[in-house]
């Protein structure tokens, strides 16, 4: 997909995010908006996904013969749900059920309701990288050459389990795994370096044995180029970690440059102000 087309999808996904969160007056718009460009780039361009004869995506829990994506920071479920729906995993109309009773779109991603595209629950932080490691290990044992992607938050790097997985993955030479850290520098209680300073995450991952790349996660051209570079670096003995600089709330001016929209829903006026900044490119749900 051309980057202008990816831009269109991203704009619609951002509209979906603010509308979903507004619709239920809860959820996490900030990180969702910040990671929109990455998820759109992955699902609409970079990932090799299973499709049928009509070229529609087909969800297979096993993920065999295709690339897999794991969302470790499950609270940014709005962006994942929107991208999955827009990519064709389930009807776009279902986005209206987000966080409501009897919905498949739980507050945090879950498998119990069998939502296509979700392979494991996430929400309690720090666990996704381990699950991705298991999936990548499974691909090695099954001799499946496809890749496993995993997105984590930067606040989430404070969880100890992340560093258990960060040791395990290079030690086991899982060079079919590409991890992202959403480096937006914000978490619920304030700036990440004030709450609990992560120091230099790139150097940390390097010290653990990863190949580390950096990118501007809100620049579709840079995302495409870095994903290409990461794929080329895969299969060479080391896993790849991409430190992805993003702006929490990207695309909605009043949600940017603050941690305040981490987990807050816009009211009616704020919704209108947000939507005025985001083109409706694919039709609202």
């Amino acid at each position: 997909m051309k980057s202008t087309d990816l831009e269109k999808v991203a704009s619609q996904v951002r509209r979906d995010i603010v509308r979903m969160v507004h619709g239920v007056a809860s959820g996490h718009p900030g990180g969702s908006l910040g990671c929109t460009d990455l998820l759109v780039s992955l699902y609409f361009e970079a990932m090799d996904l299973k499709t049928d004869e009509q070229d529609s995506v087909v969800f297979d829990m096993s993920g065999s013969g295709e690339d897999m994506f794991f969302l470790s920071n499950g609270h940014i479920s709005p962006v994942l749900y929107s991208v999955l729906a827009r990519r064709g995993y389930f009807p776009v109309s279902e986005l209206a059920t987000f966080r409501k009773l009897d919905s498949r779109l739980q507050g945090h991603p879950a498998t119990a309701e069998h939502l296509p595209g979700i392979r494991i629950a996430s929400g309690s932080l720090g666990q996704g990288l381990s699950a991705a490691a298991g999936a990548a290990y499974g691909k090695k044992l099954r001799k499946d050459p496809h890749l496993v992607y995993c997105l984590m938050g930067d606040g989430e790097q404070q969880e100890g389990q992340i560093w258990e997985a960060a040791s395990f993955i290079p030690h086991r030479q899982l060079d079919n795994l590409i991890a992202f850290v959403d480096f937006n520098g914000q978490q619920i209680d304030g700036p990440t370096d004030v709450v609990l300073n992560n120091r230099d995450l790139g150097k940390k991952y390097e010290a653990f044995g990863w190949t580390v790349l950096h990118m501007d996660g809100n620049d579709l051209t840079d995302v495409a180029a870095t994903l290409k570079k990461a794929k080329q670096a895969s299969g060479k003995g080391s896993p790849i970690c991409i430190i992805m600089k993003t702006e929490m709330g990207q695309g909605v001016d009043f949600m940017m440059h603050t941690h305040k929209w981490h987990g807050t829903a816009p009211n009616n006026e704020q919704l209108a102000a947000a939507l005025a900044q985001l083109d409706e490119t694919l039709g609202d749900y």
């Binding site: 829990m61 096993s62 993920g63 065999s64 897999m68 879950a110 498998t111 119990a112 392979r119 494991i120 629950a121 996430s122 929400g123 309690s124 720090g126 666990q127 996704g128 990288l129 381990s130 699950a131 991705a132 490691a133 298991g134 999936a135 990548a136 290990y137 499974g138 691909k139 044992l141 099954r142 499946d144 100890g160 389990q161 258990e164 997985a165 040791s167 395990f168 030690h171 086991r172």
Partner: protein, 318 residues
Amino acid sequence: MRTYTFTEKKDTRSGFGAGMAELGRKNPDVVALCADLVASLKLDTFIKENPERFIQCGIAEANMIGVAAGLTLSGLIPFATTFANFGSSRVYDQIRQAVAYSNKNVKICVSHAGLTLGEDGATHQVLEDIGMMKSLPGMTVINPCDFNQTKAATIAIADYEGPVYLRFGRPVVPNFTPADQPFEIGKAIVLNEGADVSIFATGHLVWQALEAGKLLVEQGIDAEIINIHTIKPLDKEAILKSIYKTGCAVTAEEHQMNGGLGDSVAQVLSLNHPAPLEMVAVNDSFGESGTPDQLMEKYGLTAASIVAKALAVIQRKK
């Protein structure tokens, strides 16, 4: 009283190791994971014969549980192994979210459960794991009684689709279960039929219950002894069938009274057929260092305790 004999005493963890060795040969999807306790879990044969299907995780149990959950996606059957304390309380949130809630086909197999871990003391003697695990929706909880039963259970859970917590231990205990007895998950085993009192025992306490049965015969009491190797799903039918006959029960386990087998049996009785119940279990206390036998004696997990509780509960029958 039916007589049970054994030719040797063996540890249940070796039963697990033997089961894994057999699974390694017959099921190519079985993968073993361990957190730096290979010798304690008796995984040597499995690893020697299937080195590519063994994943050493190091002292990083939380990651091990997540890796196991991820492995299930490609149809592999991961057996995640460590000490019971580190495979339950240390990683409860990981088991809850990545295994139970996500309904992944992970087998959490843990040794050194309970007081009989011995000299290492209370930091390692988990007595709360059955309670934690049975609280999780969809989790199967198994606590076999001897070498042969642990081996059979290990093999059986590979054929069952869903999360399982398999708990066993360190000391040698009489190996009386027939080697060819198939293991049926959730199906209690009546070891002795009796009319005066039901004794529901699990794990290492099953042999103690048989010893208690013999002592009770000397006092003219005819005890029904049932091996509850699966705590969840609990064989309610077998429990009620026995209680309709005897009218009272004793439970026996190497676990806290809170959350253990006794709790589960109490629930079945009060919801269906209230009857006097006494429990042989650790009573809201941590363990301590000592030999397994000393600890079982001090904390009252013995045949003599079961006898005393049986006599007391019979008195409570109207």
